[in-house]
């Protein structure tokens, strides 16, 4: 039976991808040098985003990390954890590894990432992509 519901369409929610080149800049690429510790902070967001997962375009084995919102750095990972439990990669079933629970990043908040490469080798062209849903009018929508 066709729907005759006169309700308007919901406010648009946009797929959101945030690129973070992590490591030492060598030319246009970034590399995680073996034994080095890196800290990165994103620019403050000017909109609300519900973060749902993270992807790495490199093998995260041997890399340890910590990720949080700057306002509360202990909130998600009190200690360094293997990056492979934070970020998926294309050789895995979950290319974008979902967070245990989506997290709503508010306007003005910044993402903080702390990484250390203990893999025994340098890793080149290292990009983390944080994936989420951007609310165009700041109206929250139930997570799927």
């Amino acid at each position: 039976m066709p729907s005759l519901n006169p309700s308007p369409l919901p406010q648009p929610i946009i797929p959101w991808y945030f690129r973070l080149k992590v490591g030492t800049r060598i030319g246009t690429l970034s590399s995680l040098l073996n034994g080095y510790n890196y800290r990165h902070v994103s620019s403050p967001l000017d909109y609300e985003v519900e973060v749902i997962g993270i992807n790495a375009n490199f093998d995260p084995g041997g890399v340890f990390g910590k990720i949080a919102v700057v306002q509360n750095p202990e909130r998600w990972t009190p200690f360094q954890i293997p990056l492979l439990v934070l970020a998926g990669q294309d050789t895995q079933r979950e290319t974008v590894l979902s967070l245990p629970e989506p997290y709503l990043l508010r306007r003005g908040e910044k993402i903080y990432i702390d990484l250390i490469n203990n893999s025994g080798a340098n890793i080149s062209n290292t990009i983390l992509t944080i994936i989420g849903r951007k609310y165009t009018n700041g109206n929250a929508c139930p997570a799927a």
């Binding site: 729907s3 369409l9 991808y17 945030f18 690129r19 992807n55 375009n57 294309d90 799927a144």
Partner: protein
């Protein structure tokens, strides 16, 4: 296929739904770091399309892409690795779901801005979006 409450709220506004697959040829020539120029999804004139997931027919984690809608919505500020956006054939699920289903309105297109890998280059390449055409 599991749909979010958001997608279900959109779908119920339409009378009919039909599967649709939108393929875009990227046009890489096998050159490192090349930017082959903007490419677009086909324009659908007779209905809106709810995009669900995406696949690419190559495997190269160095390829980057930035996607935007002719509405002016950009999905990212910069180009991001294609592995975060689309699935590949060697994966268990070769079509990677979008973080949220995306409504592409009638006659609107997605604009895709690709960059080839810095250490290994792809030749050709296609990206395919799967979705539901809503009438």
């Amino acid at each position: 296929m599991h749909l979010s409450d958001y997608a279900k709220a959109i779908i119920q506004q339409y009378r009919q739904k039909v599967p649709i697959l939108l393929k875009v040829s990227i046009g890489f020539t096998g050159t490192l770091n090349e930017t082959p120029g903007l490419v677009y999804t086909p324009e659908i004139g007779d209905g809106d399309v709810l995009l669900l997931d995406a696949n690419v027919d190559f495997s190269n984690s160095g390829v980057l892409v930035q996607i935007s809608d002719s509405n002016g919505y950009f999905w990212s500020k910069d180009r991001v690795p294609i592995t975060a956006v689309a699935g590949i054939q060697t994966q268990v699920t070769p079509c990677l779901p979008l973080p949220i289903e995306y409504l592409l309105l009638r006659k609107h297109t997605l604009q895709l801005d690709f960059k080839n890998g810095p250490s290994s280059a792809t030749t050709g390449g296609n990206i395919t979006f799967r979705g539901i055409k809503l009438l």
